[in-house]
């Protein structure tokens, strides 16, 4: 049973560029959440997708956008990259509805470095 997978593993971009990160949820899961984890910090919630719609959003600017596909996989897009966007981006999947308090399974993350 494949767990949550993310690609790429590492990415180096230049300020002002755009980036797309990808996530495949654990088999059977239908909800995908994205988190940003700066070095030495806890993850911060970016947004959550369920039924191909953004259901919740954290305190992140519109430069951060996403998408969920019919197969439940998801993409995170960041436009006009800033140095401060350098972080580990984590994808987590879970099962909803009735997924109240159910475990979110995390992927290994994508390390984004903006120079």
């Amino acid at each position: 049973d494949a767990g949550v997978t993310q690609s790429p593993t590492h990415l180096i971009k230049t300020r002002g560029q755009q980036v797309t990160l990808r996530c495949s949820p654990k088999s059977g899961h239908d909800t995908v959440s994205w988190y940003q984890q700066a070095l030495g910090q806890g993850p911060q919630f970016i947004f959550q997708y369920y039924e191909e719609e953004e259901r919740q959003r954290g305190n992140f600017p519109d430069r951060f956008s996403g998408h969920q596909f019919p197969n439940y996989s998801s993409e995170l897009n960041v436009n006009a990259l800033l140095l401060g966007d350098s972080a580990l981006y984590l994808c987590a999947s879970s099962l909803s509805p009735s997924g109240i308090g159910r475990e979110q399974y995390f992927g290994p993350g994508t390390r984004l470095t903006v120079t």
Binding site: G40, G101, F106
Partner: protein, 120 residues
């Protein structure tokens, strides 16, 4: 706004001993869930233990147990018989349930983490 505070940035413990990691949170919600996640160096974050706020009984998972004090908004993690493999960042996290989102899950709110080192 909900917040999670972990007041111990780093801790160390000798192998086979017991260690307790602290976590406090702030919320006005009554229905919520609390979690401890473990993030080993350069490895995926995994769930250690979870607690439903409506349950008075403290959760236990093998060597891991919690002390949940709802009135005090405290949720500490006790690791018994510490093992070298327990070395990791430990994050306390909080989740609410969102009635107005068709029953979808709330998002996790994490603390800043406690770096635990288990020494041989």
């Amino acid at each position: 706004a909900q917040t999670v505070t972990q007041s111990q940035p780093e801790m160390s413990v000798q192998e086979a001993e017991t260690v307790t990691l602290s976590c406090t949170y702030d919320t006005s919600e009554n229905n919520y869930y609390l979690f401890w996640y473990k993030q080993p160096p350069s490895r995926q974050m995994i769930l250690v233990i979870r607690q439903e706020a409506y349950k008075q009984q403290n959760a236990t998972e093998n060597r891991f147990s919690v002390n949940f004090q709802k009135a005090a908004k405290s949720f500490s993690l006790k690791i018994s018989d510490s093992q070298l493999g327990d070395t990791a960042m430990y994050f306390c996290a909080f989740m609410t349930f969102l009635m107005n989102y068709g029953g979808s899950q709330g998002n996790l709110i994490f603390g800043k983490g406690t770096k635990l080192s288990v020494k041989p």
